[in-house]
Amino acid sequence: MRIKDHWREQRMFNRRAWFAGALMVLSVLAVLGRLYYLQVLRHQYYNVLSLDNGVRTVPIPAARGLILDRNGEVIASNRPTFDLDLTPDQAPDLKDELAHLVRLGLLQQSDLPQLMRTIASHERFDTFPVRLDLSAREVGRFAVRRYEFPGIDISSRQARWYPFGTLAVDAVGYVGTISASELAHLNPAEYAGTAVIGQTGVEATYEKYLHGTNGYRQTLVDALGRPVRRPGALGKELHFKAPIPGDDVVLSLDLKLQRLAEKLLKGQDGAVVAIDPWTGDVIVMASSPTFNPNLFARGITEKEYRALIDNPRRPLFNRTLRAQLPSGSTVKPALALGALTDGVIDPHQKVLAGYAYHLPGSAHLYHNANHEYCGEMTMRTAIIMSCDVYFYRLAHLMGIDRISSWLPKFGFGHRTGIDIPGEDPGLVPSRAWKRRQFANPSQGEWFPGDTVILGIGQGYFLVTPLQMAHYTAMLATRGRSYEPRLVTGLRNPRTDKIHWKRPVLDGNLTQISSAAWKVVIKAMVGVTTQPKGTAYWEMHNSTYPIAGKTGTAQLVREGAKGYANEGSYHADKTLKQLRDDAWFIAFAPANAPRIAVAVLVEHAGWGSTGAAPIAHKLMDAYLLGPNGKLLAHPGRGPFSEPADIEERVTAGVDPRMTAEQRAAAP
């Protein structure tokens, strides 16, 4: 048994106490080292993490720019809409709540499967719409029961709105929900908070300007993602950036005229394009039938989309840019100008044109339309009466190589370059083109008969209504080609300053003599003023001179490769419905042109009866004042371009015209 030694125990305790003290100092140093690491060395890193925790950046979408016509009429605007937004994380019993929404009539039972997929594709803490565009009544119905729906709330946003519905949809286009593939090409920072993007028309081309710059607001949220109402001392580091609204886009369209055009086309399939020949400004762009862009702006349903796609009249098909048809006789002025310039024919030489034309050494007959008899024709009378036999011969005299070099000069066979997407190029055939189309060299050979029918705008030659209008404008300006355009200016919504875009002159057929112009344009005036003119009955009472040309096209849609029926389009009566598309082109006043119009009416009968009245009414509406007199400045509106562009047309002549060209003016 050991004896307790109190002194020894005291000393031992003291030694242990000091030892413990040393251990304590060491461990405190470890903690201090850790604190130094966390709070000094890694302070920046953890500070960023703590900000990321509590600061949520909420994008503020910029107001999309308006779209106005030349009169300042707003054709695309924004309106507030109310959506139901869901945050799954905050909805304890999601399925129950959705079922309850169905009972309230705010959702359809049939929407649920799609909705569940949408929910599954989002993060639990995301907020996204489950129902778009509530009516005021629906907003009220939900609002009184809001407390029954944790995690679901009403949110308001600006949605695109086309107040006139279908009006000018082919020019303006529409916005639609951003698709996953579009998202991949967008800068996510720029489009955070943006729900829609321009899909077609001006909405698509000018997306960059219309969209504006989104802003953002930083808010404090707690660990559950709930916004903190009174951030107090925590709020001082929060940023706010105001959105910059998108530019307003000023169109060349004249909605008054556009309305009239759509009204005149109503119930028929067709297209109208009217152009200011001195600027390329598109005054009317109408395609019929049409559709309501608001469906796309608010989010089209599968059923609505099916209905549009399955409609045999193809309302979504923009005929102005994409209907590729034979020109019919409307091509004759272009061929005449080409033949005159190349010296192929003397315009005043009388040519006996009977019922039909046959190639030298061939018995095949190319008849006039309706098997009429022309008689002795000059170029002028041949254009006035639209004598096919004269132009069969003319085409044969020119030959395919001249024709295929002249037609592109008038804007055919390639895109006009209009400032909206989706344009088709049409087709100007040539020897080389035909060789490419047929694997068999004997079929790919260019036959003289192919050339003959080109003389009346049939065969392989295909044009779009827009190309027709552009070509008519070139006739009006005696060879100047202005790139067709819909947008004339961009308006800054804060300063209301408009930045005008200059018209683009992309060609001028100076090689054509004024004498040639005089012959052809006089003849085109004759079409509407001479009793034998093909549009005499529709136009002869006009108070101003109109230069026009009718055309009747066989209906051959895209991909006319195999079509080679040697011009016998009138032979087979059973195909009549496929052939009788009516063209009419015109510019007026013929001595000082201000408007060029191309009208296409499908299955309308002859060009003169089906299409000419529409062109006439449009020109009247554009050129005449309320007193029936010609306006000094037709088409000028508060949002049309500055006067200097308009002043170019003085007394019907462009100031830049040569003296020779001036003299040639009728």
């Binding site: 048994m1 050991r2 004896i3 307790k4 030694d5 109190h6 020894r8 125990e9 005291q10 031992m12 305790f13 003291n14 242990r16 106490a17 413990a20 003290g21 304590m24 461990s27 405190v28 470890a30 903690v31 201090l32 850790r34 604190l35 130094y36 966390l38 709070q39 000094v40 890694r42 302070h43 890193y45 953890y46 500070n47 993490l49 703590s50 900000l51 925790n53 509590g54 404090l220 949220v221 707690d222 660990a223 559950l224 903190v228 107090g232 001392a233 925590l234």
Partner: protein, 378 residues
Amino acid sequence: MIHEEFSTDSRTRRTLSGAARVLLALKVDGPLAVGLALTAGFGLVVLYSASAENTPMLMRTVLRLVLGIIIMLSVARISPNLLRRASPWLYGLGIVLLLAVAAVGHVHLGAKRWLDLGPIHFQPSELMKIAVPMMCAWYLHERPLPPRLGDLGMLGLIILAPVGLVAKEPDLGTAALITAAGAVVVFLSGLRVRAIIVLLLLATAGAALGLRFMHGYQRERLLTFLNPEAHPLGAGYHIIQSQIAVGSGGVFGKGWMAGSQAQLDFLPERTTDFIFAVIGEEFGLLGLLVLLMLYAFVIGRSIYLAMQCPDTFSRLLGGSIALTFFVYVIINAGMVTGLVPVVGVPLPLVSYGGSSVVTVLSGFGILMALFSHRKLMG
């Protein structure tokens, strides 16, 4: 005595000497009391912010502090002899109460820790934090030191019996603290270094074995400590968020009531086990240094008081109280900063929570009693 040194008539000196007289009469150690009061006061300031200006919570804490002070003052008056003689009885009572908890305890948050005595909820495991070191000190008091192997076996039994019961509740943090409190007594009694190493090895083996019997969440906490980023929103959330809080505070802190981690609920258990991180976020490294210096003063003074005690029981018990207090602080600080696994150890005198304050203050009451009655021991 100290008060005799004040002889002039200066009012300050009269007041100070009067205060010293009062403290002496109360058997309270002045410097220790001041250190404790400053620490608790700092705690209240932090709690006000951490609880998002929750005044009722603050009032409850004040009431508990008052209760703790009353108990501390009462305990300080008890003579060390009585404390020593009471040790086995107190220990026995604790064991009985722990058995009662196991039998009829109140289940709260999945753990059976509380005895429901009418208005008072009482955790017997808190009592054991004091009773176990008392028992160990009592056992070693009459025996020659350093303890021999047989004594160690007996001490092991004394410590591990209540630890087993507490671990079963389950309350791993308290079990660890009770073990620490007992082990500290054994350490201070002069156990040979070789024996300490053997015991540590045994403890490691025991821990490895214990891991197999741990509850899922306990094991998860431990494993998460090793790799918190693997479960950023799961079990690692506590550790990550508390480190973000401390780190983002920097040297000077974000300011009182301006810590986003604490104020926006990102920091879990911010009024209790993780209040250290709130201080780090809002008062920065400087605030934590102030807190740690307050603790260092309290612990240093406590060890000094224990060293002054003339008998083995008082020294061992006093030293154990001081060192256990340090263990609380260092484990909590280590856990919040990511140095040790997350175990439920509160920051003494600062964390919100009832029994802990009372336990800590009664411990210091015992320490004061042991010191202030030392002359009577002769």
